[in-house]
Amino acid sequence: MDTLIFIITAAIALIGAVAMVVARNAIHSALFLLLNFGAVAVLFLLLYSPFLFAIQLTVYAGAIMVLFLFVVMLLGAERIEDAPDQIAWQRPLGIGLGVVLMLVAMATALRASAFAPPPGGEALATFGDPAALAALLFTHYLLPFQITGIILLVAVIGVVVLNQRGRHRSEEAGREDARTRRREDARR
């Protein structure tokens, strides 16, 4: 029974990922990514980690994807890929490399991990619950916990500062940048 669920969700996840990459429209790819995150959340459940299932759905799917959609809408950047690709050899080489990476990654995965079904037993019952996770988090991993806190703080300040400078830039700076861009094009 579990394997069946696993196969379905895995398929959904893969489809979501591929669709995200292939989609022309940025919004469609964002939504497909949302689908992928949902599938992965379910997989977390299968792996007995309900806390992460919740976190995945709320933080990833909820916060980050919403932010993405918001920014896509703000910039109106759905349709910017129609111009011909500047670097001709970029696309084929990219695809080729991606495929090679996939094969190598899979080969490593096959060799590294065990095929036998994971051990069960009574320890499994208390395994995934948030209490055990929290206990470990606030004792053994206290320092990293604080550091991530600081990272988040820095991120917030960063965002504020970036946007501030953005607002002061006058129209003239915009035009000047355009000119440099034209000169670069001429030179290339």
Binding site: T3, L43, V59, I80, S113, V159, G166
Partner: protein, 100 residues
């Protein structure tokens, strides 16, 4: 029970697709999303091994990864907005001022 190997294979596949996305797509946002996808694939692998080893450490790590990812997205998008404001485009190739 589903052997861990399947999960790891899936995670590898997702990761590779993420890389493909980064390499091929020229829209900065899609690139960003692909990066998020790669991170997600990594989380999946973490959790799979945590399950196999029955040790919660894996999951704690995933927790940290998620928070860092969130911070990263925030800053990334802010940057993207700032660039878009001055350059009127989100195409990755346009932004090549830092040429060597």
């Amino acid at each position: 029970m589903v052997p861990t190997a399947y999960y790891i294979l899936l995670s590898a596949a997702l990761f590779a697709i993420g890389v493909l996305g980064v390499l091929v797509r020229r829209n900065a946002l899609v690139v960003f999303m692909s990066v998020e996808l790669m991170l997600n694939a990594a989380n999946l692998a973490f959790v799979a091994f945590a399950r196999e080893r029955l040790s919660v450490d894996g999951q704690v790590l995933v927790f940290f990864v998620i928070t860092v990812a969130a911070a990263e997205v925030a800053v990334g998008l802010a940057l993207l907005v700032a660039i878009f404001r001055s350059k009127r485009t989100a195409d990755v190739d346009e932004v090549s001022v830092l040429k060597g």
